[in-house]
């Protein structure tokens, strides 16, 4: 019996031809620039068309990883990136799960809350940054006024680097929590209701229900969310740009790459575009994502196979 729907002979090529546009699109938009970044990292590219490109071997990597105090600053940015990633991933994951379970209840008006929690996702980073810059304005802004009622004050985004980064973590979570929540909701809605009914009849406590039914059956969603949160936070840079700009002690790797590539290392000094150097930094970030992402994915897949078979 022939289950092949596209006939015989040359017609068998049809599915491949149908896949070709998508593959070409992926090649041009995703794979091509990624490979080009790798190649550029070995050059002194400025990103300006018409300038001579010189092959400089591992010089950009040497400068990024081993040259003077700047390389130590880069390591500090790397540590900051990991701290940012850890905080964002753990808090966003936990809050997303809690919110999903709350708004997955059959309660009146629950869709309004789903919409409210998801709404920040549809705003761009610039709008998100603008909203919080206004909200956190230290001279009479809403939060400053609120703190003032209790005799407290804060510089918020203009405060010490650790405080400023804490606010970026907060805004990053606020901006992306909706996606995490929706992925969990999608998972929660696939869990058969009779499992919960059975557990209820058996007298299981809410914690036992969560631990033995909800959590194991959410495994695919847990994996998706964890990977998305880890990779997303490792690559974050837009909110750092919008909320903090280039400030010593606050850069993460993603923002460092942007600043070097597009000459924005200082608001008052005209800088050169160093896209070869920025490409090398991108490859370092890529390696970091790989080193963290691959073992996590391996572990999560093993866990999924163990639980769901």
């Amino acid at each position: 019996m022939n289950n092949y729907h596209f006939g015989r002979g040359r017609a068998r090529l049809a599915p491949y031809l149908l896949l070709l546009p998508g593959f070409l699109f992926y090649l041009v938009i995703m794979l091509g620039p990624s490979v080009a970044t790798g190649v550029y990292s070995f050059t002194d590219a400025s990103g300006i068309q018409g300038t001579a490109l010189h092959w400089i071997g591992f010089e950009n990597y040497r400068e990024f990883l081993f040259m003077g105090q700047a390389s130590l600053d880069n390591y500090a940015a790397l540590v900051r990136t990991l701290i940012f990633c850890f905080c964002v991933t753990t808090i966003q994951f936990t809050l997303g799960l809690v919110l999903a379970m709350l708004v997955n209840q059959r309660l009146k008006g629950v869709n309004i809350f789903r919409t409210i929690f998801f709404m920040p996702v549809i705003l761009g980073a610039v709008i998100q940054g603008l909203i919080w810059s206004l909200f956190l304005y230290p001279l009479g802004g809403p939060l400053a006024s609120l703190l003032g009622l209790f005799g407290m004050r804060s510089e918020f985004l203009g405060g010490q680097p650790n405080e400023a980064i804490a606010w970026v973590i907060f805004v990053q979570i606020w901006a992306n929590l909706g996606v995490t929540m929706m992925i969990f909701i999608a998972g929660l809605q696939t869990i058969p209701g009779d499992l919960y009914e059975g557990a209820q009849i058996d007298g299981a406590s809410p914690w036992q229900v969560f631990r033995n039914i909800t959590w194991p059956l959410l495994t695919p969603n847990v994996n998706t969310n964890l990977l998305l949160n880890i990779i997303g936070s490792l690559q974050a840079w837009q909110l750092f740009l919008v909320l903090l700009g280039y400030r010593n002690g606050t850069q993460v790797l993603g923002y460092l790459i942007f600043a070097q590539g597009f000459g924005q290392t200082s608001g008052s000094v005209t800088s050169a575009f160093r896209q070869g150097y920025a490409a090398a930094a991108s490859i370092v970030l890529f390696c970091l994502v790989l080193v963290i992402g691959l073992p996590v994915q391996y572990f999560l897949q093993r866990r999924e196979e163990k639980i769901l078979g």
Partner: protein, 450 residues
């Protein structure tokens, strides 16, 4: 049969769509060769759209809108399509649009930060790379060049003996705006020395009036505001940069330590609480509200202050960084906006008409009046309020450190004389510790390039 044909047609259509989407709307010229249209200036009656790119500066944008209307009335066949971008994005957008040959005339800051013979292993500044790539046009032979003073053309628009930019004005950033009413009400004289400035701030603070404000959230306005402190110690800033590179000057010697000590006072005692959260573009409004006595900042803020509160009375003085009043009569600054023409423009004739018209002395004077730049045309005068304030110091105008400085590769992030490194803007509290850190960060880069 019909099914197969449909599938094949569908595949071909999708491929065609994809290729069309990836393709350029116009055939690209080979590298190093000008597009065909470049050699053919449009005929006088031919309709031309001239694409102009400028950065966000409200009085300049207002002036340009009026100027463009006048220009289009004079040349009905030319339509000006002007785009305005944030100053921080100007270099990125300029590069992108020049590369795509999607712009004709661009507003570019005066050429600065060029590599000097004593600098080792530094990257060429962006403007130099653009010229080397053939993306900016040589305008040396244009008659309107003669309208500008030689120094401005040479210092801010020339590279390898050819002119690529007409610079439209200098700005000073080492001054302080002061609130005349608050000074009078509190019986405070305009300070001419550092000690007088410290005393003035003490008087205002005692009266529960914040002494100074600035856009601390952006970091650089704090540095710019304290420029007079660097200037007081190092009047010749080109020499300072050479000294830092060659080792004859350091950021932690006795002279510099005096500067850092004053910067600490400036950042911690003079700046109002909360200034670290004020964005750069919000600071003029805060000053114009009348709540603060002083606002250290550049001459470009004058129009924003007036726009925020037209009846507000302010004055502008050089930042008194020294206890010798004679050493405080300098204004440090930079060459601000200038015009460059895209090297591959198809509208060269229209672009040159545009710059010729702009450079007409009457139009230029109107521009200088509107934006408050210190003019670069010899015949232009300073008729704006900020012009009147800076006029006494124009003979003492000097180009500032940041226009000469290029950091050695490998230098740490603190290798600059920024007052914003002090708390609450930064993390440092002790001038000596900060001075040592700044010098160590610089030395690290210098050593790495030996």
């Amino acid at each position: 049969m019909f099914k197969r044909s449909s599938v094949l047609i569908g595949v071909i259509a999708m491929l065609a769509t994809l290729l069309a989407a990836c393709g350029s709307s116009t055939p690209a010229a080979p590298a190093g060769q000008a597009p065909a249209a470049e050699t053919q200036a449009p005929a006088a009656a031919e309709n031309v759209t001239l694409k102009v790119l400028i950065h966000q500066n409200p009085p300049m944008v207002d002036f340009m809108n009026t100027f463009n209307e006048q220009f289009q009335a004079k040349y009905p066949n030319i339509t000006v399509d002007m785009a305005v971008v944030n100053a921080n994005d100007l270099s990125t957008v300029t590069q992108t649009r020049l590369t795509a040959n999607d712009v004709d005339v661009v507003d570019m800051f005066g050429f600065a930060n060029a590599a000097q013979p004593y600098m080792k292993n530094v990257t060429a500044p962006n403007w130099q790379t653009l010229i080397d790539a053939g993306l900016l046009m040589d305008i040396s032979d244009q008659p309107f060049i003669k309208n500008y003073d030689d120094a401005a053309i040479k210092d801010a628009g020339t590279y390898n003996g050819k002119v690529y930019q007409v610079n439209l004005g200098r700005v000073s950033y080492s001054g302080i705006y002061y609130n005349k009413d608050l000074f009078t009400a509190n019986n405070v004289a305009v300070p001419t020395t550092w000690s007088e400035l410290v005393a003035a701030c003490a008087t205002f603070k005692a009266a529960n009036i914040p002494c100074m404000t600035a856009g601390g959230k952006d970091g650089w306005p704090i540095f710019v505001g304290a420029y007079g402190l660097i200037g007081a110690e190092y009047p010749d800033q080109a020499q300072l940069v050479e000294g830092l590179w060659t080792g004859s000057a350091t950021w932690n010697d006795a002279k510099s330590l005096d500067m850092w000590t004053k910067m600490k006072t400036y950042a911690q005692d003079m700046m109002e609480t909360g200034a670290s959260g004020i964005a750069g573009d919000a600071a003029p409004g805060r000053f114009a509200s009348g709540a603060v006595a002083m606002f250290p900042g550049g001459t470009w803020y004058a129009s924003a202050i007036d726009a925020a509160q037209p009846s507000f009375k302010w004055g502008y003085i050089p930042f008194p960084g020294s206890d010798n009043a004679d050493e405080n009569k300098y204004l440090f600054g930079k060459y601000d906006q200038g015009w460059v023409v895209a090297g591959k423009t198809a509208n060269k004739d229209a672009a040159m008409k545009y710059l010729t018209e702009f450079s007409d002395p009457a139009n230029y004077q109107a521009f200088a009046n509107a934006v408050g730049f210190i003019p670069t045309q010899p015949g232009a005068t300073l008729s704006s309020p900020i012009g009147a304030e800076v006029a006494p110091y124009l003979a003492n105008f000097r180009v500032g450190y940041e226009q000469y400085w290029v950091a050695p590769k490998g230098a740490g992030e603190f290798a600059n004389p920024y007052a914003s490194y002090f708390k609450p803007f930064g993390t440092f509290d002790d001038p000596q510790a900060l001075a040592d850190k700044v010098q160590a960060d610089l030395q690290s880069g210098l050593d790495a390039n030996k």
